[in-house]
Amino acid sequence: MARVMVGMSGGVDSSVAASLLVDAGHDVVGVTLKLWGGESDSGCCSVSDVDDARRVARRLGIEHYVFNFGEDFDRFVVDPYVADHEAGRTPNPCVECNRHIKFDKLIRRADALGFATIATGHHARVVDDAGVRRIARGADHAKDQSYVLHMLGQSQLARLLLPVGDMTKDDVRARAADLDLITATKPDSQDVCFIHSEGGRAAFLGDRIPLRPARLVDGDGAEVGSVTSVELVTIGQRRGLNLGGDGGRRYVVDIDRRAGVVTVGPREDLLVEHQPLHDVAWSHQPVDGALTFQCSAHGTPRGGTVTADAETGVGLIAWDEPQPRVAEGQSIAFYTGDRVVGGATAAHR
């Protein structure tokens, strides 16, 4: 039995995570993080979500608290998200939230309050491989969230419980229904929690930075269309370019923000032998040899090897076969089998 602080977003996964901890006999306290004060409907920190979490906690017989981490969320997640878009990068706010808020700020808060262990409702597992702790893929591969936890190191993994990692989403919902939890049929959260579904990224960023139009050209420089905001265009993007069907599938292969020119081309034009990285970090020791790399939340893992400078964190993936370039700013998680062994951020080529 341990004193466990469980993060309760007001969703079904963390509700069930809390119930499993209670059943295991732990001394459990539920906390909901208030992260975003602005308008949002897709997120995990609205007042109605706090209400849901409080109701679930009451049902489970545990105390529930709300921590306002809004200032840190602005500083470490929202402001960098805007700055990244402005600079032409493709940020990963959920990863940054995990890095700075859930698995740093919350852990430090737990420390101050005398809780050795924290838990969340992520679909992933914490495993112990001969004394080395790793994040492993969740039992429900379709819901696996190991990718967004790739930054966790030994000190964090040593005190982390992920109670629903062994369950499928259907199991989670069934258990929530059995317990008559108000969150049992709540839809999964979608997209970035601080962005309103109606206006989307364009409205959110447009309120904060100037959005500039750009010309779309093909590899020969011939104009084939336009976009209203170059800041919303990502390397490798295919949808939303309104190119019509005549030229085959075309992808964004280059973005010149200053000139306001976006180059599109066939998938082959995206393929590279190597992917440059920065902020390479290992969950324990560097791993030589064959790894797989996942470059988005539900992307297909690709094979390769990685070299990195331990001092600077600068590194390079050598792909087994040429792969599409990863947009600068995206997180890349490194796997051995279903174990996360490290991660990095895609650098400019």
């Binding site: 909901t32 208030k34 007042v47 706090v50 409080r54 608290y65 709300v66 921590f67 306002n68 809004g70 200032e71 430090r108 808060r109 420390d111 101050a112 309050l113 005398g114």
Partner: protein, 378 residues
Amino acid sequence: MAHYLDHAATTPVRPGAVEAMLPVLTETYGNPSGAHRMARAANHLLDDARDTMATALGAEPGQIVFTGGGTEADSLAIRGTLDAAGGVAVCTAIEHHAVLDPIEYVGGRVVPVAPNGVIDLNALADALDESVTLVSVMLANNETGVIQPLDEVATVVREHAPAAVLHTDAVQALCWLDVAALAAEADLVSVSAHKFGGPKGVGALVVRDRAVLSPLLRGGGQERDRRGGTQNVPGIVAMATAAAETLAERPTAVPRVSALRDRLADGIRDAVDGVTESGVADRDRRHKTANLCHLCFAGVESEALLFLLERQEIMASAASSCASGAMDPSHVLAAMGVDRRLAAGSLRLSLGYSTTDADVDAALAAVPAAVGQIRAAG
């Protein structure tokens, strides 16, 4: 057993108030607007309550408007005046959100305060002109307990904004201050029952003859057409009973609670390094209400402190709570020029009529220990 040190948030209902309201729920339940004997009985209760509140607040009975709480009283004063007269509203930067939000919503002017939390009268004069129709300055602040000099405010208002009425949010004041005397120059005075031992959801607004209000709620003509809707007779009876008891006890309660508060504030300051008492220099608290002890701890986050204090059965608060229960940064401390990082470690211990020596002893033991634990982890 819980040590309740959050009287500025709400107070336990006085037993006398509970006793007074129970027969109104079960026996004298007539609608006071009705024509029969049972209706008249309820109306007589309202008359009596109105007399009591008028005495407590230094007004005529006909100047008392019963409302559904302090926020409604504030909104009736502000929106009611602006709807009737138009013009510009002015308030201080340390008002409760019940005043600040409606005034900011209509683009009103906000006047700064000095570092001790007292309104800057020169800045007030600068903010006033002929277009101003309403000035709102609270009598005592809900976070720090700092008392505003309403007489001086009134003098400035009459000189620089002759068309304006003066409103004061006296919600925090009735237990500790002679509102009838201190707010005598105010045209509109808001109070809320649950801050002085009455139930939640009932309050009153003094509307003196200079003030002309357009009602927020129309329909039924109650409260002389200033607030439509059947009156909350049980709540109003309980409020009046609580007000009468509060006034009767005030001469002894103020020195008693003030001594407890001083022992609490001095004791914590003696036991803990890196603590500042908001708006207080040299431990001189004469410009504050008797019940408030407001401290800021360097290197501490309020939410963590409140969590640990709760574990030791101390119920306290930091700044104003938002709807979710999370703590928002204090606009009051910001207006007083308190460093943002220091303000993040604020603690409000607010005492009341039911506070005992044992409550203070418990807090004196728990607060230094909790601060020490948090700083050790940091």
